[in-house]
């Protein structure tokens, strides 16, 4: 898994590539990186999963943990461009009811600006 960070309109965008799975996790986890950003007062986070090829339950757990951490400090974590497969998994687990998920980055950014 590779994560590139960029910032746009005070929103930290995580461009994630590769696979988010337990076996591929090194010293750095998605949750840790999100926490670092939260510690740096970046409480508006957008996870762009366009280039994520695979995500397992551990990966979903990382997203969930990141989501909770963000919520805890009153921030927002949103998702964009998730794969068809992941959307199905999110629907079955009802996570579509919890996460805000957008088709593309612009509409996600727009939603941040409306708040």
């Amino acid at each position: 898994m590779e994560i590139d960070l960029r910032k746009k309109d005070n929103i930290v965008i995580f461009d994630i590539k590769g696979e988010i799975r337990r076996s591929d996790m090194g010293n750095v986890s998605l949750h840790n990186i999100v926490k670092e950003q939260l510690d740096s007062d970046n409480s508006r986070i957008l996870l762009n999963l366009k280039k994520v090829e695979f995500i397992d339950s551990f990966g979903v757990g990382e997203i969930l943990a990141s989501f909770i951490s963000t919520q805890d400090i009153g921030g927002k974590l949103k998702l964009t461009q998730i794969s068809k497969k992941l959307h199905v998994v999110f629907e079955i687990t009802m996570l579509t009811k919890v996460f805000e998920i957008f088709k593309d980055e612009n509409s996600a950014l727009e939603s941040f600006s409306k708040e």
Binding site: A65, K85, H87, V88, M94, L95, T96, V98
Partner: protein
């Protein structure tokens, strides 16, 4: 008016029903008018032959009879397939009158050889006339009716014998062979009676006639001899009857020889002998008449067919031992008297009862072979044995030993036939219907069907609910292409937020997406793992709290939640939310929550599920969920059912659920409820026990409790019946009458369901269904089956409820039952 008088008169001596009086009297007269002349012919037959040749002529005479009867049988069967029964019977009678007249004409002028011809003629006469008589009885009455009236018909024959015997005794020394003229006079009278019987039979309503032969038996009423032989050979039961007839005939012939030999040794002079035979047959018939009238029915009723079968061979065994030890005329009179009187009364009735489980077509066919051929064949075999024994000058004692050997065989055959009888009765009646829920559950996977419908419905409700359903559905291995197609068609309402829309894949099949992109097992594991995450449980709890806080507008979200919890671990924190969802005001939400509770099977949900039994909208789902809990729910449900303070509807539903948990524990809990002095769940408990019994026949039911309840229900049935009859026909009582009729019907079925708990369930179900909806014949078989399988202690109380009788008789009988029913 006249018919009423006749009915009242006959009803005193026989269980005749209204409308049967004329035909019953005609059949009685028919039998009288063939046995009276036959007794005259027989007395002359014996004395003429013994006087001319002595007892040594008896074995050749028996043999000649056997051979000639063979020819007559073949000839008879040829006529039988060509002409009607009525014509056959009447023309046979005319034949015997005309040929008999020749004997009367030539006896004085011809030599002794005519006596040798007269003997087989007399024997053939009785075979043909008796067979015709029983064929007529079977043509008119169904087995059950015949059984009821058979004693009375038999009495007609026996009275005829008494009358004929007395005529011989009084007139033998005066008019000798001219006695034959009386016999032929009676035969002529008999022809008119036969004509009247068949005229009556032609007027019988269609339903009263024996069942028409089916297509596979196109001409069964006209049976050839070979056909008759094959029909016996193919049935193990008929073979047994045939063997019993053969052996009993050998014994009878052997006894006849011993008796005639001792008469010939002791009484001198032809006319003395004729008079002796006249008196003997008269007294014999008188004895047999009283035996028939006073004892036969009672013996069969009291001991059943299985025990009564052994009475004759046992008495004859004692007599044969006696004659072997002391070959005297007195002993011979006892032996012959016992043999003949039993054969005319008890054995005749038993034989007709043994034919009850045989279909009318088969019985008719078999009787031609058994009665007309086998009887005589056995006589022939015995004649050869007697010829051998007399050739070596072996005395009466040795012939008695021959009887004893065959009596042993007879007993063994009776043993076998008594076992076969009940099993063939069972085969004869069929199950008419299976219970509705069993029929549905056998053919339909209800859970799967429901899921398919719910999936379709969920398409209109939300994409999450739809996804949850599709995921659930994919767990089924046998998802048909048709179902996949129906489910995958998108609904307009779903377009705004469906999976397909999100990715711009208009018209994409969701099922295909699932199947192409996911390994089902991997997906299942992923979903389980995600749902087990603490983080997941935490966020979902927050979501659930928000949803549950809302009122009606969050119905769909609650449904999603309820459905999703069903996929989670039973111990997950989210599972605690299920109880609230089960109790939700929305039946739809409750339904999903109930389904999830059934998946998680946590005991803590049982009270909430029982509570849901009270709501008709969720009752079915709650029953189904509790069923899935199985044995773990028995104790809680048992406690609830037994608490009379709880809601009755819910308690009834609990009983219904218990019926689906087939365990000893369930049975015991239900029996405890049944055994209560006052229970408002009697019918429900009986239905459940019946269901368990039909599914698991091996579970033991405490007979003592079930029997006690059976007696109580019989009492209830009798009381309601009596009260119903005594209720004034006024219009104001209409409602009450309806209510009582309903109660009567419920009690009746409950009695049978209880019987099915301690008697073979299938047999009781067959009997009940045939009694309720069967034809007249199948009802008769059903009653006969019950008569044979129920033990006396219960049979005597159950059969009066079923048997067709007049209302006054029933009321009287029910009053008697109420007095003697166990407290």
């Amino acid at each position: 008016m006249l018919k009423n008088k006749l009915y009242n008169l006959l009803a005193r001596v026989v269980k005749v029903r209204k409308g049967e009086e004329t035909i019953t009297l005609l059949i009685f007269s028919y039998f009288f008018l063939i046995t009276a002349p036959y007794t005259i012919i027989k007395a002359l037959r014996n004395s003429e032959l013994l006087d001319a040749y002595g007892e040594k002529a008896l074995p050749p005479a028996y043999l000649l009879t056997a051979i000639l009867t063979g020819f007559v049988v073949v000839l008879h069967s040829k006529f039988q397939v060509r002409i009607s029964k009525q014509l056959l019977i009447i023309s046979s009678m005319i034949f015997f009158i005309l040929t008999g007249m020749l004997f009367w004409l030539f006896f004085p002028s011809t030599g002794d050889w005519l006596r040798l011809v007269y003997w087989p003629w007399a024997n053939i006469l009785v075979v043909v006339l008796m067979t015709h008589f029983w064929i007529t009885v079977n043509e008119i009455f169904n087995p059950r009716e015949a059984r009821r009236l058979i004693g009375f018909f038999g009495s007609g024959g026996l009275l005829g014998g008494v009358f004929g015997g007395l005529l011989v005794k009084l007139l033998a020394e005066v008019i000798s062979t001219h006695l034959l003229l009386f016999a032929f006079g009676m035969f002529i009278a008999c022809i008119f009676v036969i004509r009247a019987i068949f005229s009556y039979a032609e007027k019988l309503p269609q339903y009263d006639k024996p069942e028409k032969p089916k297509k596979e038996f196109p001409n069964t009423h006209k049976v050839g001899f070979i056909d008759s032989y094959h029909s016996v050979r193919k049935s193990q039961y008929l073979v047994l009857i045939a063997l019993v007839v053969t052996v009993s005939m050998i014994v009878s012939t052997s006894i006849d020889f011993q008796f005639n030999a001792l008469v010939n040794d002791t009484i001198k002079g032809k006319d003395n002998m004729t008079a002796f035979y006249g008196l003997f047959y008269s007294l014999l018939m008188l004895f047999a008449f009283f035996l028939q009238l006073l004892m036969t029915s009672n013996l069969i009723k009291r001991f059943g067919i299985k025990i009564t079968l052994f009475l004759s061979p046992l008495i004859l065994f004692i007599g044969s031992i006696g004659i072997a030890a002391a070959p005297l005329l007195g002993m011979a009179i006892f032996l012959k008297g016992s043999e003949k009187s039993l054969s005319l009364s008890l054995n005749q009735s038993i034989r007709e009862i043994l034919y009850i489980p045989v279909s009318p077509e088969l019985k008719f066919k078999a009787k031609v072979f058994i009665d007309m051929f086998l009887n005589r064949f056995a006589k022939g075999i015995c004649a050869i044995l007697l010829l051998i024994l007399t050739y070596f000058d072996l005395g009466i004692s040795y012939i008695s030993i021959l009887s004893i050997v065959f009596l042993g065989i007879w007993v063994m055959l009776n043993l076998k036939i008594s076992l076969e009888y009940v099993s063939i009765l069972k085969e004869n009646i069929k199950i008419k219907w299976v219970s509705g829920d069993k029929a549905v559950s056998d053919k339909l996977d209800i859970d799967y069907t429901k899921l398919v419908f719910d999936t379709l419905e969920s398409k209109k409700q939300s994409s999450v609910l739809y996804a949850l359903h599709v995921f659930d559905l994919l767990q089924h291995e046998n998802l048909s292409p048709e179902v996949k197609q129906v489910i995958s068609q998108k609904s307009d309402a779903l377009k705004a937020f469906s999976i397909g829309d999100m990715f711009g894949a208009e018209g994409t099949s969701v099922i295909s997406e699932f199947e192409e992109d996911f390994d089902k097992e991997v997906l299942k594991t992923d979903i389980n793992e995600i749902m087990s995450l603490d983080a997941y449980q935490k966020v979902m709890k927050i979501h659930a709290d928000k949803v549950l806080e809302k009122s009606k507008e969050s119905e769909i979200e609650k449904m999603e939640l309820a459905k999703a919890i069903g996929l989670m671990d039973p111990d997950s924190p989210m599972a605690d939310k299920l109880e609230t969802l089960i109790n939700d005001d929305s039946p739809e939400v409750a339904r999903y929550a109930i389904e999830s509770a059934a998946k998680l099977k946590q005991e803590k949900f049982i009270p909430a599920l029982i509570h849901r039994l009270g709501n008709p909208l969720t009752r079915g789902d709650a029953i189904s969920a509790l069923n899935k809990f199985g044995p773990t729910a028995i104790a809680t449900m048992g406690k609830f059912m037994g608490d009379s303070k709880k809601d009755l509807k819910k308690r009834k539903a609990v009983v219904e659920v218990l019926a689906n948990i087939h365990s000893k524990e369930t049975v015991d809990i239900l029996l405890n409820e049944l055994d209560k002095r006052r229970s408002d769940l009697v019918t429900e408990v009986i239905n459940s026990l019946d269901k368990i019994r039909s599914e698991k026949p091996n579970i033991h039911f405490r007979t003592r409790v079930v029997k006690r309840k059976t007696f109580l229900l019989i009492k209830k049935y009798c009381r309601i019946f009596i009260e119903l009859q005594e209720l004034s026909p006024a219009k104001k009582n209409k409602e009450l009458r309806e209510k009582m009729r309903k109660e009567l019907s419920i009690s009746f079925i409950n009695i049978f369901k209880l019987l099915g708990l301690y008697y073979p369930h299938v047999d009781i179900v067959k009997a009940y269904q045939n009694i309720k909806t069967g034809t007249k014949h199948s009802i008769a078989y059903a009653i006969e089956l019950l008569d044979n399988i129920l033990k006396k202690d219960i049979r005597d109380f159950v059969l009066p409820l079923i048997e067709e009788h007049s209302q006054p008789y029933k009321i009287k009988k029910f009053h008697q039952l109420l007095k003697i029913l166990p407290k």
